[in-house]
Symmetry: C2
Subunit: 337 residues, 2 copies
């Protein structure tokens, strides 16, 4: 029988559709992938083509070369030149498109997926996220900083060279405010952080846990809107990503890389997004919010029901997805929960 599950963090209902249910390994989407190359002549992110991007913001040096670099997005969605002023005319509310839009070139190697990188390189990338997060959130005009990665065309990218992006906006998005308000309400009702409670319960129930480490817990979402949505929660209560310590970053790099490698091996290099969900920049230190990473493989399409109701239909049972991922062997030494 199918089941409805409610996401405790967002109060969104999801249909776990057992009549349509698929074994986790049936979710593999066969794709034509280009053969890997170290270098691609027309790629703006390959070494030697640095002039094809706007001037560099920062780099992780490697002698006189680089291991990773940050540049402004050449086709930025928002502009630092715009004025963040609101113009309200009855129902029409608009604002200058002020903001920053970074691209993080994750590696000089054109085809090196994050799933296949050494942990130290993933740690470099996470340190860049934190550095840029800290820099961008100093600007009082910035209200929210969204860090994300698109891998593959179904995840919304046409550029193959491994990269992630950061967009800083002068407004707090509805989605972030909604999650924030739910978390505040929970704290008001029960006197504890909703996320700390979920982590405790996931560790107790075990069956949705993919892996655990000293500082992090990776688990499938109980009310996962799509197959294999995986959350990576820090065990320590921190509202904002900027609170992460360097020891935790090294550990997160291992955990993130292992989750991505399990997806890569188990699901044949699926297209995916990841994002860091954190409190708005002005709300560091609050007791009721807890940042985490969300990894979202893009194996299915949203259709009219999802658009019309906001409810998702998931054909893979989250407990089975977790078991499947636990059983995918990768060559790293992170403990399996």
């Amino acid at each position: 029988m199918p089941e409805l599950r409610q996401n405790f963090m967002t109060k969104e209902w999801v249909v776990i559709a057992t009549e349509r249910a698929k074994r986790p390994d049936q979710m593999v989407v066969k794709r034509e992938r280009k053969p890997p190359v170290w270098f691609s002549q027309n790629c703006p992110f390959c070494p030697g083509n640095e002039k094809m991007t706007p001037p560099e913001i920062l780099r992780v040096p490697d002698g006189d070369k680089w291991k990773a670099r940050v540049v402004p997005n050449k086709f930025a969605a928002l502009s630092p030149e715009a004025k963040p002023e609101r113009i309200i005319h009855r129902s029409r509310r608009r604002m200058g498109g002020f903001g920053e839009h970074d691209v993080i070139v994750e590696t000089p190697d054109h085809s090196l997926s994050m799933a296949m990188m050494p942990d130290s390189q993933v740690a470099d990338i996470l340190r860049i996220y934190k550095t840029r997060y800290d820099q961008l959130s100093l600007d009082p005009r910035i209200a929210q900083v969204t860090i994300f990665k698109n891998h593959g065309t179904d995840a919304g990218t046409s550029l193959e060279h491994p990269h992630s992006q950061i967009i800083a906006t002068p407004v707090i998005s509805y989605q972030v405010r909604q999650r924030f308000q739910e978390a505040m309400q929970h704290f008001d009702d029960f006197g504890c952080c909703m996320f700390c409670q979920i982590i405790e319960e996931e560790l107790e129930e075990e069956k949705r846990v993919v892996l655990t480490s000293e500082h992090f817990v990776a688990a499938e979402l109980f009310a996962s809107p799509a197959p294999f949505c995986t959350h990576i929660y820090p065990r320590r209560h921190m509202a904002n990503f900027s609170d992460v310590s360097s020891k935790e970053i090294a550990d997160l790099a291992r955990v993130l890389r292992t989750v991505l490698a399990k997806l890569y091996i188990g699901l044949d290099n699926p297209d995916f997004n990841f994002t860091i969900r954190t409190s708005p920049t002005e709300c560091t230190g609050v007791r009721y919010f807890h940042w985490y990473m969300s990894v979202i493989p893009r194996l299915t399409r949203t259709a009219g029901f999802e658009l019309g109701s906001g409810m998702f239909i998931n054909t893979v049972i989250p407990e089975e997805a977790a078991e499947f991922l636990r059983n995918v062997q990768v060559e790293t030494a992170v403990g399996v929960g």
Copy 2:
């Protein structure tokens, strides 16, 4: 310069990305479409293959044949056999997957897109929506009825034969509740229906209007999350789709068909979804909500920024999309606003 716009109905911010801006006609996605056929041997929705579907719920007869039929979805997301009982265990909230899932086979003709149908056939389909809406909402266990259509693989369907679907759920989705609450708040603040106000303002400003008829207004959304999202609003205040009159249905059929034909001709038969946004079944007759249809072409992919922030980036300026659609000629007699 880019611009941020806030959707007045949902309070969601959208980036209108002028740096990435495209002319409306650049949004055409070239697709391999199969040559049209009247009949496909293995199609469960083609005449003669009626046994391939579960037993019929209703039909629009055509002698001893049919013009359209409703059947239960063979791979239903929810089941009428399940019990809509809640089981709450700390943060884990679940419920039996009770519900109904209809398929409306819109025509016996395997390749006849709704955009190309006679208006009378579209009216038949809309009447089926209303009949099934009324029947399903009589069940006190049903809280919400979502009517939608998926056209093309990017819109989430693999079946070519023109069909739409109805899913009735025992819960009100978060998205519907959110829109409902915003509308209620607006009524509380200003003493008028938010949607009636928007319709009045769109007619006054004209530039986002695609077409108007006696009973309906089709307009691009001011803060459209994606290119060519088109709303079709009834001019008369009605909270619930079930309040629509038969005169209005005939008029809506013409307007919907014209909008779909403009998209078909102007954007080379794009994949699209449509859905009817209406009040929950228990809230007919309220003064603050107003049903409407939302037509959503699927020309772009959501990426990590959209997933991580809930904000969308739209590369087509809604006023230009409206102008483009106004200028697409279709052979019908609906007035252009």
